[in-house]
Amino acid sequence: MPEQQTPQAETGPRPILPILRLGPKPHLVGSKCGSCGAIFLDVRRVACSKCGAAGNLKEVELSDKGKVWVFSVIHQSFPGIKTPYVTAVVDLPEGVSVKSNLVDVDPEELEKNPQKAFGMPVELVVNQVATDRQGNPVMAFQFRPSKS
């Protein structure tokens, strides 16, 4: 579940999760363990769950390109969430995977030819998905088939 966002003085776009950094070149960040190199998708981690080392984590920027590991087409969700949509696990070159919606693809086509999606090169995109109680645009990241 997402963290409650702390109120900020200025208004403007807000990331849906702390691992998303907005700005001219939006990107994801992770915490990397200085002892074993494992990367985690959060920014407030106190220790490494792979090797147990504590207090030896630093923030790293993650690649905006990856490859689809697996996906599912979701046909039933919460009110307000448009279905069908594609959820996917994307492997990043840093050795960590991230989950998000796969956009600019045809869900029906992926169900007919699932093998087509496995290993598909994808890239990060950022879109507004909501407006928060303070009127700030809430920005989320998705992946789309790689154009470059």
Binding site: M1, P2, F71, I74, H75, S77, Q115
Partner: protein
């Protein structure tokens, strides 16, 4: 560690009981188990209660407030879908350790119509809700993708997953304790509404209410109380949590902890997968059952589809081999979360003891039974019972 036996079992038909409370449902199953064991609540020395949705409500004590307040220690357990089986394990450990001679485990849940999409919300600004916006973390997505991993690695087809649902529903027609007892064709399953690819509606377990109970005793007590009745020994009781694996935090890895639990359980019981007469495994989705065939060693890595094609998992009466979920499984019998882990042990016990309650679906000559449960988050139990 001492030998531990299951002296008595009880369960109520899974279904919907909106007019009853959780402690009432639990009390009903507990009373059946006491009657089956031939003892009274006065002989029970420790009580472990498994319930998830009311984990802070002292359900165990409230069950005893209905069936007998003897002042014994009560443990209330919550461990996702492995809640009931973890309660069973607490009772097992209490007797195995030598501290108690008679312990009872009850698993109970009332889910009403709250589906597998339940549990959303919270106090934070809904604008920051991630579900459906940066992928899905809900059960249908997790187990859909767990099946897709198998599809990716081994070319498994939608039909293989669907056949599991057909089989489970066929099995359930012979189980009066099952929430659903209707047969479905392959077309029915494939043409049903898609929930999360590749699982259609009938490849997802229903929600419901239910309760199950088991009474565990030491060898000395068994001799005093069994009166010559055949009672199975709990040959292995294993609980694991999810070890670090690379994608576990993005897509819960339901395989590694199951494999570890199964391996430890076979070592503890001194048997192998080839010795298992029947298995009740955690088929919360059809995709889950397929991958657990391999995780539990019922077939080789990558050969689950072949296993299905050769009649694996199907009751021998129906021409199959290596029967899995002859109760109907979670897909048909139902999955009242806290009750599930105790109910599947009841099913195993009934086959091993040729109990009346499994008469219509008795697995012939059953000597070794395996019960597997996985709760996301994650917790996995494997129990092996032998006669």
């Amino acid at each position: 560690m001492r030998n531990v036996y299951v002296l008595g079992t009880g369960m109520i038909k899974f279904g919907r009981y909106p007019e009853k409370t959780v402690p009432e449902l639990g009390a009903e199953a507990a009373l059946v188990a006491l009657r089956d064991a031939g003892i009274t609540i006065k002989e029970v020395e420790l009580f472990a209660s498994g319930n998830l949705y009311q984990a802070n409500a002292m359900i165990g004590q409230r069950i005893l407030q209905q069936i007998g307040q003897t002042g014994i220690p009560v443990i209330n357990v919550a461990n996702a879908c492995a809640t009931g089986s973890t309660a069973f394990r607490e009772a097992f450990m209490a007797v195995a350790s030598g501290m108690y001679d008679v312990a009872m485990a009850v698993g109970v849940e009332q889910m009403g119509k709250q589906g597998l999409l339940g549990g959303a919300g919270g106090g934070s600004d809904p604008a920051y809700s991630t579900e459906g916006r940066i992928g899905s973390g809900l059960m249908p997505a997790v187990f859909g993708q767990a099946g897709m991993e198998h599809m990716r690695k081994y070319g498994t087809k939608l039909e293989h997953f669907a056949k599991i649902s057909v089989k489970s529903h066929k099995h359930a027609t012979r189980n009066p304790f099952s929430q659903y007892q209707n047969e479905l064709s392959l077309e029915d399953v494939l043409n049903a509404r898609m929930v999360a690819y590749p699982n259609t509606l009938y490849m997802c377990c229903p929600t419901g209410d239910g309760a199950a109970a088991a009474i565990l005793v030491s060898e000395d007590k068994l001799k005093q109380l069994a009166g010559g009745r055949k009672r199975p020994r709990v040959a292995a009781s294993v609980l694991t949590s999810d070890p670090y694996t690379e994608r576990d935090l993005t897509l819960p890895d339901v395989n590694t902890l199951t494999r570890r639990a199964a391996q430890k359980a076979f070592e503890m019981a001194g048997v192998g997968p080839e010795d298992v007469s029947l298995t009740e495994l955690h088929d919360c989705f059809a995709t889950a059952e397929l991958i657990h065939y391999e995780n539990l060693g019922l077939c080789r890595e990558g050969e689950a589809a072949k296993f299905i094609e050769e009649g694996g998992g199907v009751h021998p009466d129906l021409g199959g081999k290596c029967p899995v979920n002859v109760s109907g499984g979670l897909l048909s019998k139902g999955h009242p979360l806290g009750a599930t882990g105790v109910a599947n042990i009841c099913e195993i016990v009934w086959h091993l003891t040729e109990d009346e309650r499994a008469k219509q679906r008795q697995v012939p000559n059953a000597k070794v039974g395996m019960a597997h449960v996985i709760g996301l988050g994650s917790a996995c139990t494997v129990h092996i019972l032998t006669v």
